[in-house]
Every structure is written in C-alpha cells, then in structure tokens.
C-alpha cells in the first residue's frame, strides 16, 4: 500500500469514500482498550491430502477428494462470524443458510498453498475470537451475546482505520474471512440472484446489448462527466 503525503493510503481514501457513513455500530471502541487477547499464529502441520489433480472430470466433478478439517467448536465460531458478515436480510438467508460454512471448511482444508495460508490465519482468528469473548464474558464467541460479539468484530472489521498494533493479526484475519464469506455467499445461487447477474443463459440471434434502461443510465452518467458517446 502506498502512502499519500497526507498520510492516508489511497486504498483507505477509496474505502472511506465508499463506506464511511454507513454506520455499523462502534467502529473505534477497541482502539482505546488497553488489553486484548494475545494473537497466536501457530505454524500448522500442512494438510496431507490429495488435490483434484491436473485432469479432473469438469463436466461431472467428483466429490472433493480432501477431508474437511474444522472441528465442531471451530465450525460454531465460523458460523457465528459468517452470519455477522452476511446476516439475514428480509427474505434473503444469512451466510450459514446457503452453505457458506461448509465452503470455507472445504476451502481451508484444501492441500493448496493459498488455502493452507488461509487455514493458519483463520484458525488463529477463531481462537482469538473465542479467547477475546471469554476474556470479556467468560464464554466462547459463539455463545457470547450480540453486544460482546459486535464489540469484538467492530474492533477488527475496518482494516484501513487506525488501530492498535496488537490487533493487526486479528484485523488481517477478519479481512480474509470477510473476503471468503462474501465470495462463498455471492457465488451461491442465492447470492448470484441477489447481485442480479443475468448471464449464463443462451441467446439465439445477435447479442442484444445493454437494455434501454442501462443506456439511459450510462448517458446520464456520461453527461455528468462531460463525456459523450459519439
């Protein structure tokens, strides 16, 4: 990340422009807190399981060849965190309702380097969340009340805001977890529908191009930018 002269990274200013003001509770509540649970990023024994190989059947994919590795308590912590990231929204299910927990279990159990890195980070993060919840309330994250859970999450959910050095690990964890949970949710049929993706259907004849509504929107935006289509 590159720092600007005013000390704000570009990525940060980009994020602030897009997301500040969407009020998510108590974003800075933890920055002043003197102590938090320690962060233990242990190096784990690598997963020893087969990958799907360099010539898998693409049309009828076989079941995943590697076993899932998360324990029940880890799955509970993951599930609680996933549903904070992607909660129910009207008719739309929360993350755990569309199989996100299982996708992430599959993901971090895979014998590939990126996934193995994520495994270390996520296991350390689940452990930290549980110990932090226990420190504050005496029970693990999944059993803690909403107030405690959100307080913990608020402290680690905004990677570009200033934060204490001891939360660097947990914040990195949450950044990766968010990306995985959002990825798993928005690639599920429900998530795809929510985004309004309309492709992957065959069309006979010419490609129809943008709808009238999409063109009207484009023209208005171009006009505002002082640009024209021709």
């Amino acid at each position: 990340m590159t720092a600007r002269k005013d000390g704000i990274s570009r990525r940060e200013s980009f994020r602030r422009a897009g997301l500040l003001g969407l009020g998510t509770g108590l974003p800075f509540s933890f920055t002043a807190a003197a102590e938090t649970a320690p962060w233990n990023l242990a190096s784990l024994e690598p997963v020893q399981a087969p990958g799907y190989g360099t010539d898998p059947d693409l049309v009828h994919p076989s079941p995943i060849p590697w076993p899932r590795t998360l324990t029940d308590p880890e799955l509970e912590t993951l599930s609680a965190l996933a549903d904070i990231l992607i909660p129910e929204e009207g008719e739309r299910p929360a993350a755990s309702g569309v199989g996100v927990v299982d996708v992430i279990d599959e993901w971090i159990s895979a014998p590939y380097p990126t996934q193995q890195q994520h495994r270390s980070l996520l296991l350390a993060g689940f452990d930290w969340c549980d110990r932090e919840a226990a420190r504050q309330s005496g029970v693990p994250f999944a059993e803690a009340g909403d107030r405690i859970r959100l307080q913990i999450v608020d402290a680690i959910a905004y990677p570009d805001r200033p934060g204490p050095a001891e939360l660097e690990g947990p914040r990195r964890f949450f950044d990766v977890l968010r990306s995985l949970v959002a990825g798993a949710y928005y690639t599920s049929p429900e998530g795809v529908r929510e985004l309004g993706y309309q492709g992957n259907v065959p069309i006979t004849g010419d490609y129809p191009g943008p709808s009238d509504e999409a063109m009207a929107h484009l023209k208005a935006r171009l006009e505002a930018l002082g640009l024209t289509l021709d």
Binding site: R15, V59, A184, T187, L229
Partner: protein, 563 residues
C-alpha cells in the same frame, strides 16, 4: 511411402495446436497424407466442456489452484505453468513462465481468441528504428492469406479505418457484437484523450460456419466451446482434415528428436509413447514441427549428432535465440459512475467486444515517445459471473457490507496492456545440461531480462490507463506502482515466439520466409518460432496464416516431387 500401423502417409506433423492443426488441414486438403504426433491425450470438446456449469458446482468455487491455474473449469489438461514430470529451468536472475497443455488441440482449446492482423509497419519495424529484425516479406504478401485464414477459422470484427487494424477484404469478417456499458464508457473517456476504441477481432463465430454454430452469448470461452463457435482445432481444422481420410492422429506421442541422414535430409522423428514410456521411430518424406515455439526449438537442439553438433538446422546458432513474448500489465480502476447501474445480461461473448488499438505511431515517428514499439489495451469489467474475489476490496460487515458489494458489482474496469518487446541477447532458451523430464528428454532453460524499452512502454501505459480512469471520475488501484513491478514476467502473456526465426539468409536465421529450414530442405517449422519480431497484436492469427501459406507451398513441392 512410410507406414504407421497400417496407415500410409507422406508427412509427419508434430503438434495439433494452432500451427499443426492448420498445417494438417492445408496439407490433407491438397491430398497429402499426414501422420500427426501429439504429446497430449485425446480430447473431445463436445463431451468434455463444462458449458453452463456454475462456480458453486466446482471445488473451491472454481478458483485457480496449482492443479488448474486458470480455474477449475479452464480447459487445460495436465498443464498450465507446470506440466507434471516435465519441468523447465531458468538461468540466474531470470524469471520465465512457460504455459503448456497436454491435450489434442493444444492451447487452442482455451486461448483468448483475440485475432488481430499485423499492420504493414509491423513487418518493417527494424528498418524504422534499427532494433531487432525485419520480416523477409511484406504485409501485402500475407494479406490474401490473412483473408483466407480469417474466413476459414471465422473471425468477428470490422474494418474501423484505423492504421493499427488493417482492413480485411469485404465479406471476410463476421459481424462484431455491440459494445457493453463499461466498454462504451471507456471508449468515451479514451476519445476525449484522442484514443479510438474499436471492435476487438475474435475468432468467435457470430454466424454459423460449416457445421459450427454461432455463439449463443454465454459460457466462458476458456473452458472450450462445445458448439464450435469459439475457434479451436478440435472442432474445426482437425475434424475437417480427418474427413479427407488423409489424416491419422497419434496422441500421447511425445517427440524427442528429428533424425537427419548423411545427405542432410530429415528421415523421420523419434517419439515416446506417454502411456508405455516406449520409444518409437517413424519415417517421413517431410517433417513439420509445430509443437509450439519453445518446444520445436527444444526438439531441434536435442537432435544433436556428429553432423549437427549444435542441433539440427542450427548452423546459424539462432535456434533458441530471439525469444520474445508480449509485454503485459493490468491496470484496474474503480469507477463510481458505474455503481448501482441497471442490470442486464452483460456476458456477450464473455470477452472484449471493444479494445483500444495502438494510437501512437505518429507521435513515435515525430520522436515524442521514449520507447520504440506500440501496445494496445484489452478492456475488462462488467457484470460477469461472480467469483470468490467479489468481496476482496470491501470493509465492515453486515448489511453495509452487502450493500457495498451490490453497489460495486460491475463498477471496476481493467485495462490490460499488451505490447511489443524488442528481441534481445538477454532473452533466449537453451538446453539445460543436467535436467531431464520424466521421459529422459533434456529440458529447456530460459533466460530473460526486460530492457528499458519495455519498462518505458509500460510506464506510458500506466499513465494512459490512469488518465482514462480519472477522466471517468474513477480511482486507479495501485496508482504509484512502478513499471518494473507492474510488468508481467517473461512468458506470462503466453505469446512466446522467435526461437527459430525466419530471415533472408542462412547465417542469421533458421528458416526462409516459408518456414523451410535453410539446412534441411524437408524440415519445416509452422509455429510461432519463425516470427522475426513480435508485434503487439496477439500472435496466433499470424502464426496460423503463415502455417496455411507455408503448408500450401510444402504440399505443392511434395506433389510435384520437388522434395
């Protein structure tokens, strides 16, 4: 006449990809009988392509892994940046990536299908700036063959009247699809900066051709195309050649060397049967190498004998030299004006409908640019099928997170630079003196270093992309990234060419303008190895055009008994 398992033939063609497929088609059409040896396994796009499969049906939501580098559904079989049991090495301080696949049809099963003709000025760049080598022929020599190739494989696009996109003859191209919102938007910003956006030319049918169907505007072409709309040899040239009755294909046949007799004639090739590990020799009246630029050079260099101590057809010492790829860099921007826009089906042919051809010839001629050759921008962005990366740039959680992901979906644009590098002494391949593959065949060792020319070109591309994104009121990601860092690795754009370059004399080149090696008259090269330079317009259309023209000449020579 040589015989293999009851099949009589004249010519052995090594490789079934772009070059080999075209060679087999043009030879068999002339009545020449062809034995094709392909290292990969048999492959049938009709039954093996995951056409409408969605990411949630794939392991890891389809994300790329070391087993499948470009995603689970990418068509590549037993390959990618590494082929199991078949390594390659790099020299000190060199980074080079070599993409291969081990399947019938080679990399044509999953290539991008961008098919741009070279321009007249591309063939004579060395005369203009004194760097590298000219081509021994002119654009005018190739133009009719470009027409024939485009008509045969099916290319959609138009004649925009831009000097970097030469006209095809009337009626040759198929109609291009209309542009989509992000392309129109980038086009509008580019025009303000004096840069013209035009339809990309792609080897994708928009009208039916032979027994291939027109594109139905869904399913990523990198998976292959079971309806034959996206060109790949396995649904076009190979079935056509087979239908003549003059082609026999042997798959799992990994060629290790060319045999040459005392008269300097190729007598056949040796190959390893990948299923049994057994070595076999087949004879031939003529041999065509089209195993891809680096693999054909490897075969020549490995065919050492007393008569050819530096390898076959390497009297010039140029085999393996002049290795070129395209330069590449991708610049991404977030464009708020694209946020929250109305949804519609934006798949199109799942790749660029428009691109930005090189606009800088005149400025370059006036001496206003600090780098010698051109580049173009391929355009990305839109409402594609969501993948695991969709939440990568977000922050927070909960309904605010969801709202942000929805709003920003389709609001990122990408400009991918593809540029021309200049051949250099520092970019070449040779045979590694120690390392062998699982078949006992010595492997290539690559040497690579970008020069100032390429770095400055990428810096120019960076400034241009940033100007376009900012004209749209957008923000460029990684705006201060240094060009040395932004430029992709050698080989990473997968346009490697030049390792058996053509020329006008046997001292500085490996083949003549027809791909016929100077030293062994019945040994021809029909892949990108023969390129004299590597213009930024993705190499494969030109590679196939040369293969068609050269196979035509080889066929003629054989039928007249001249070889």
């Amino acid at each position: 006449m040589p015989t293999h398992q009851g099949f009589d033939y004249d010519v052995v063609v090594v490789g079934s990809g772009a070059g080999g497929g075209m060679a087999a088609h043009r030879l068999t059409e002339q009545g020449i009988r062809v034995l094709m040896l392909e290292a990969g396994r048999d492959y049938d796009p009709l039954t093996e392509t995951p056409m409408f499969h969605t990411n949630d049906q794939a392991p890891l939501r389809g994300t790329g892994t070391p087993d499948k580098n470009f995603g689970f559904y990418d068509a590549t079989v037993d390959g990618g940046w590494q082929v199991p049991g078949e390594p390659y090495t790099t020299g000190t301080d060199s980074e080079f990536l070599w993409w291969r696949s081990r399947m019938l049809g080679g990399r044509t099963n999953h290539w991008g299908r961008f098919s741009l003709r070279f321009s007249p000025h591309d063939f004579k760049a060395a005369s203009r700036d004194g760097l590298g080598a000219d081509w021994p022929m002119t654009y005018e020599d190739l133009a009719p063959w470009y027409d024939r190739t485009e008509r045969l494989i099916g290319v959609c696009g138009n004649n925009p009247g831009v000097d970097d996109v030469p006209d095809s003859s009337p009626g040759v191209l198929q109609p291009p699809p209309v542009p989509r919102v992000p392309e129109l938007m980038i086009g509008a910003a580019a025009r303000k900066l004096g840069i013209t956006a035009v339809p990309m030319r792609r080897a994708v049918l928009t009208k039916p051709l032979d027994d291939r169907q027109a594109c139905f505007w869904a399913t990523a072409c990198g998976r292959g195309c079971s309806i034959g709309a996206a060109f790949q040899t396995t649904t076009s040239l190979l079935p056509m050649a087979r239908a003549t009755g003059h082609l026999r294909i042997v798959t799992d046949a990994m060629v290790s060397g060319v045999a040459v007799n005392g008269d300097g004639r190729a007598t056949g090739v040796t190959f390893v049967d990948r299923r049994t590990g057994e070595r076999q020799h087949v004879e031939a009246r003529a041999v065509v190498l089209a195993a891809s630029a680096c693999e054909s050079a490897r075969i020549l260099l490995n065919s050492r004998s007393e008569a050819f101590p530096r390898g076959v057809a390497n009297g010039s010492g140029q085999v393996g030299r002049n290795l070129m790829d395209s330069t590449g860099a991708t610049f991404v921007g977030h464009v708020p004006a694209l946020e929250g826009r109305p949804r519609y089906n934006e798949d199109g042919h799942t790749s660029n409908h428009w691109f930005l051809p090189w606009w800088g010839h005149e400025a370059q001629a006036r001496g206003e640019l600090d780098f010698p050759r051109g580049y173009h921008f391929e355009l990305g962005g839109g409402f594609g099928a969501p993948g695991m990366g969709i939440g990568a740039m977000a922050e927070g959680y909960g309904l605010a997170l969801k709202e942000a992901v929805r709003r920003r979906y389709g609001a990122f644009v990408g400009l991918s630079l593809r540029g021309e590098m200049v051949a250099s002494d520092r970019c070449f391949m040779e045979i590694d003196p120690q390392v062998k593959d699982r078949w006992g065949i010595p492997v290539p060792r690559f040497h690579w270093k970008w020069s100032e020319h390429e770095i400055r070109q990428v810096a120019h591309g960076h400034r241009t992309a940033r100007a376009i994104i900012e004209t749209l009121g957008g923000e460029m990601m990684e705006p201060d990234r240094a060009p040395e860092d932004a430029i992709k690795k050698g080989g990473e754009i997968i346009h490697e060419v030049g390792t058996t370059r053509m020329g006008t004399d046997r001292h500085s080149s490996v083949t003549d303008e027809w791909g016929q090696t100077w030293e062994v008259p019945n040994l021809w090269i029909m892949d990108g190895g023969v390129f004299a330079s590597n213009p930024h317009k993705n190499c494969t259309l030109t590679l196939m055009t040369l293969a068609m023209r050269n196979a035509d000449r080889l066929g003629l020579a054989l039928s007249r008994g001249r070889l």
